[in-house]
Amino acid sequence: MSLRILIVEDEMTIALLLEDMVTDLGHQPAALAMRLPQALQLAETEALDLAILDVNLDGRMSFPVAEVLERRGVPFLFATGYGSGGIVETYRDRVVIQKPFSLEDLGRAIDKVAA
């Protein structure tokens, strides 16, 4: 099943890679946000099946985006270079992929979250 996926990632090259990977995995990149305000707005308004959240968006944490998604019932996973220690208590049990990650890592994480 093809999912509409929100990509929140502040590093341009990694954002583009994520778009490619999402496409390669048979899903659709629904929207791309690289900063917190855009991400909050897109999380609120876009029709989404899933979201991939970079934890640190140019110095600001993406947890408010997770909050919006949670409220809307949209599943999400975190992608981070900080390790799970950088994730707040509330979301510490969520799926996290460590950067850099492979296509297979991302595919497994999406399947786990979407299940």
């Binding site: 590093e11 341009m12 990694i14 490619d20 900063r35 270079g81 850099p100």
Partner: protein
């Protein structure tokens, strides 16, 4: 045995001296005719009286009779004389004690001239047991007159005080050691910059604390020291280490937070040892605590820096991975992909130089443009830049730098820099939208004098990075137009969200 059965016949006849213990007997038996005193029966009454008085006294005394000072002494003196007794009896005093002959010579001269002498704790070196030893004595000498009233002898009271003097010296030395030790301790406490403190055996009461300006002082015993020096949330953990030290009578040692004299949170390295009393019970705890606030801050900062570095390394690897994946994805050949990848990794590395400052340190627009285009333009005149210098966030600077790298390599391969005299103009300005709203940045890359260009049949990673990536990065619109005169790329994005105009 019969010879030892008792006094000989002449002894029994003698009634002088009366009694006098061992010395009395010895004197009665002694052949005094060999001395300058002459036979005992012929002694003047004055000599007999003094000698007999002396023999009956429990105080150590010796009578030195005549110019030679012939010695007559009692039992108590014989104990003092040690191994020199009984040979001393009847000796001339200067010969009897040859090691102190000068001293006794003076005694005889003064005494026979009618004078007295008194010494307190006089030290003399005597050979009482076959070897020299220091002996301390209280000595009192008085003249003894004969029947004519002139001094005929000297009587000496000799009280040995060696034991007392030695004991006093030992006590004085011990006191001196204690005094020195206390002095050193005070010097140590004064010399150190550490906080010093004393606690009751159970640590419930702080007896004193000298805070050295780091902590506030406690001068009188206080049971509220915990609230004074420790933050409530730290107290339980610190108390458990204290309890352990009390239970094991071991050393208390801990680095912990403290409330500084100025109220701020500081860090201290504290160490206390139990002082035990004579029964082995803890009398009190003595401790020293140093201010390690600066060190802890430096360590904390270092941890943050290391974490940040680790993150940046991972992030850079992820970016390299992303660039590599997309370069190969869009490549027409492996050879072309190799060249592109290598060039892009160089661009990434150079762009990273812009970001070596602390996180959040901004980067100038001119710096980014110069750094990204310099490796590519044929000469400086063929790259014109014009616009106000503004500062960019490091992240925007990195993305813009990569975009400018893509435009530059494209210009070198297919555009204005591929010909003899083509020029690239980079112009930017800040403007306020006609309809109002926040200020915007408009940046235009335009190539002139190059070959005629047409839109490429196939969009590569470069154009995607610019049109999609940079647009998303800057929160604006990026358009590429392939005009007859050359490529034009226009970036139009809000200024205020991502960049600050330089004041």
């Amino acid at each position: 045995m019969s010879a030892d059965r008792g006094p000989s016949a002449p002894d029994r006849m003698r009634d002088f001296p009366h009694g006098g213990g061992e010395l009395g007997a010895l004197i009665r038996r002694f052949d005094w005719s060999r001395t300058s005193l002459g036979p005992i029966d012929a002694w003047p009454q004055s000599l007999k009286t003094v000698a007999n008085t002396l023999l009956l006294s429990p105080v150590p005394m010796v009578l030195l009779w005549g110019a030679d000072g012939v010695m007559i002494y009692n039992d108590a003196y014989s104990a003092f004389a040690g191994g020199r007794h009984p040979a001393l009896l009847g000796c001339k005093v200067r010969e009897g004690w040859p090691e102190v002959a000068d001293f006794n010579d003076n005694v005889m001269k003064v005494g026979l001239a009618g004078g007295t002498l008194g010494y307190k704790d006089q030290e003399l070196t005597l050979h009482r047991h076959g070897r020299p030893e220091p002996v301390w004595m209280n000595l009192d000498y008085s003249p003894v007159p004969d029947e004519s009233g002139r001094p005929a002898g000297v009587i000496a009271i000799v009280v040995e005080t060696s034991e007392r003097v030695r004991a006093e010296r030992r006590r004085e030395e011990a006191q001196e050691r204690v005094r020195l030790s206390e002095e050193r301790f005070r010097a140590l406490v004064t010399a150190t910059s550490d906080v010093v403190y004393r606690m009751s055996p159970d640590w419930l009461e702080m007896r004193a604390l000298d805070g050295r300006g780091f902590l506030s002082d406690t001068e009188a015993p206080s049971i509220r020291w915990m609230d004074e020096y420790l933050f409530p949330e730290d107290q339980a953990a610190i108390w458990s280490v204290i309890s352990e030290a009390i239970a094991t009578r071991g050393v208390f040692q801990l680095e912990h937070r403290v409330r500084q004299a100025d109220g701020a949170a500081g860090w201290t390295s504290s160490r206390a040892i139990p002082l035990l009393d004579d029964d082995g019970e803890i009398a009190e705890w003595f401790g020293a605590a140093s201010d390690i606030t600066a060190r802890r801050k430096a360590e904390q900062h270092l941890r943050l820096v290391v974490n940040e570095l680790n993150h940046r390394v991972k992030n850079n690897l992820a970016m390299t991975q992303a660039v590599a994946a997309q370069t190969f994805r869009n490549a027409q050949s492996v050879a072309q992909a190799q060249v592109s990848l290598s060039s892009r990794i160089s661009a990434l590395a150079q762009a990273n130089d812009l970001l070596t400052g602390e996180r959040g340190a901004d980067v100038s627009m001119c710096g980014v443009l110069e750094q990204a285009t310099r490796p590519h333009y044929p000469s400086l005149e063929r790259r014109r830049i014009d616009g106000p210098d503004i500062t960019l966030s490091p992240k925007t600077a990195l993305s813009l730098s990569l975009a400018m790298h893509e435009l530059s390599t494209n210009a070198l391969k297919y555009g204005a820099w591929s010909t003899q005299d083509g020029v690239v103009w980079i112009r930017w300005s800040i403007y306020r939208p006609p309809g109002g709203g926040p200020k915007r940045l408009k940046l235009e890359w335009s190539e002139r004098g190059g070959p005629a260009v047409a839109p490429p049949a196939r969009r590569g990673f470069g154009s995607r990075l610019i049109e999609r990536g940079l647009a998303a990065e800057m929160g604006g619109v990026v358009k590429m137009r392939f005009e007859q005169e050359g490529l034009v790329c226009v970036i139009d994005a809000p200024l205020t969200v991502y960049a600050e105009e330089e004041a």
